[in-house]
């Protein structure tokens, strides 16, 4: 079970990233829980300023972009 957090206050890329993750989860039957973090203080506490930030099991994976599906899958299956 992996804990995935999307850091973002509601920009369009954040929504795209969330949708991608949900799609991947459904398509590959991944054992993950996806939460959205919208609180600015919490987002900044990860050092993220360019949203969306992607945190998997407490580790910051990407900032400011929507990673490719293949890259996302790789991280989620690690």
């Amino acid at each position: 079970m992996k804990n995935v957090a999307i850091l973002g206050s509601g920009c369009s890329k954040c929504k795209v990233l969330e949708q991608r993750l949900q799609d991947l989860k459904a398509a590959h039957a991944l054992d993950i829980s996806v939460v959205k973090v919208t609180d600015l203080e919490q987002i900044i506490s990860h050092g993220v300023m360019m949203t969306p930030g992607l945190v998997i099991d407490g580790q910051l994976k990407s900032v400011g972009t929507v990673p490719k599906d293949s890259q996302l899958l790789e991280w989620l299956k690690e």
């Binding site: 206050s9 600015l40 900044i44 050092g47 300023m49 360019m50 990407s62 900032v63």
Partner: protein, 372 residues
Amino acid sequence: MKEWMKFALLAVAFAIFYFAPIDAPIVLASISAGLSLLHEYARLHVLTCLVPAFFIAGTIAVYVKKEAVLQLLGPTTKKYIAYPIASVSGGILAVCSCTILPLFTGIYKRGAGIGPAVAFLFTGPAINITAILLTGSVLGWDFAISRLIAAMVISVVAGLFMAFLFKEHDRNNANGAFATGLGSDVEYSNTLILLFFLLQLAILVLFGLSIDPLFKAILIIAIIAVLLGIVFFKFQKEHNLAWLNETWDLTKKILPYLFVGVFVAGIIEVVVPQEVVTSLVGQNSLLANVIASTFGAFMYFATLTEVPIIQKLMGLGMGRGPALTLFLTGNALSLPSMIVLFKVMGKKQAPAYILTIMVLSVFAGWLFGEVI
């Protein structure tokens, strides 16, 4: 939106339709003025200015290496580098207003500190590239350039002043994590990206030139051909898609509000009596600039809508000085943004920032009205 709000909105709309004197000449004149200004914008500005501007903003969003810029706003950066970078980075980093607040909070709490953060916060909305381009297209390039320069200068002065007022703020910034981004994914040469950017800008500039239409058309088509060549043969598909996506995203976010704003601006021309405008902000007096500054600080303008509204206010006799003042405070401050500022900056710094911006804008507008 909550259910009761939907109901309230519908009830208000119904009441307006029920009671409004639809046949009254002023109502008919307002609607017709609104529509005719929309017609003017559709004819003169949408294709020749806004569409290229959206593509340019999309290019900035995808291809500018934001990490490199952000790195220069970190806690250890020398102040004489951080301030100028902060004052221009608003136009590069924050293509959309929803990205300004996280960036500001990051610079403010973990990065270069309160001064550069304030400079960034002010120029973020003020030197947005689409706004400058539309200002130039509608009101003239002397106005657009003055708006740009005034915003940059004010941001640095305001930042320095805030840093001086709140010296104790930056003490604990130096040790916080300041992650800016993990690896840039753009793998093209800077020259190519710059060329791509400049060619798009060239299209916009060409549209504005008064040269032989045939020659103009040939040049524009040639540039578009080169751009398509870059897109198909140099750039990868995923980046092209991202570019189109960003452009479309901005268009969706801005254009509907702009159309509403243009319509409202058209109505202003009919409803607001000319004497009121000329007596309040007709002269380039200090008082006129204070009025413009205060109005701009509280009034909320959706991105770009300040342009048609100020255009029409100038048509009613608003002086050039107060107009520039209104440009400066109009975008940077509004009642909703003030509330957010109080939350992020606190009870002392937020009013200090707001007052500083208002005073500096008055001065800049007044100077512009006197000199140019």
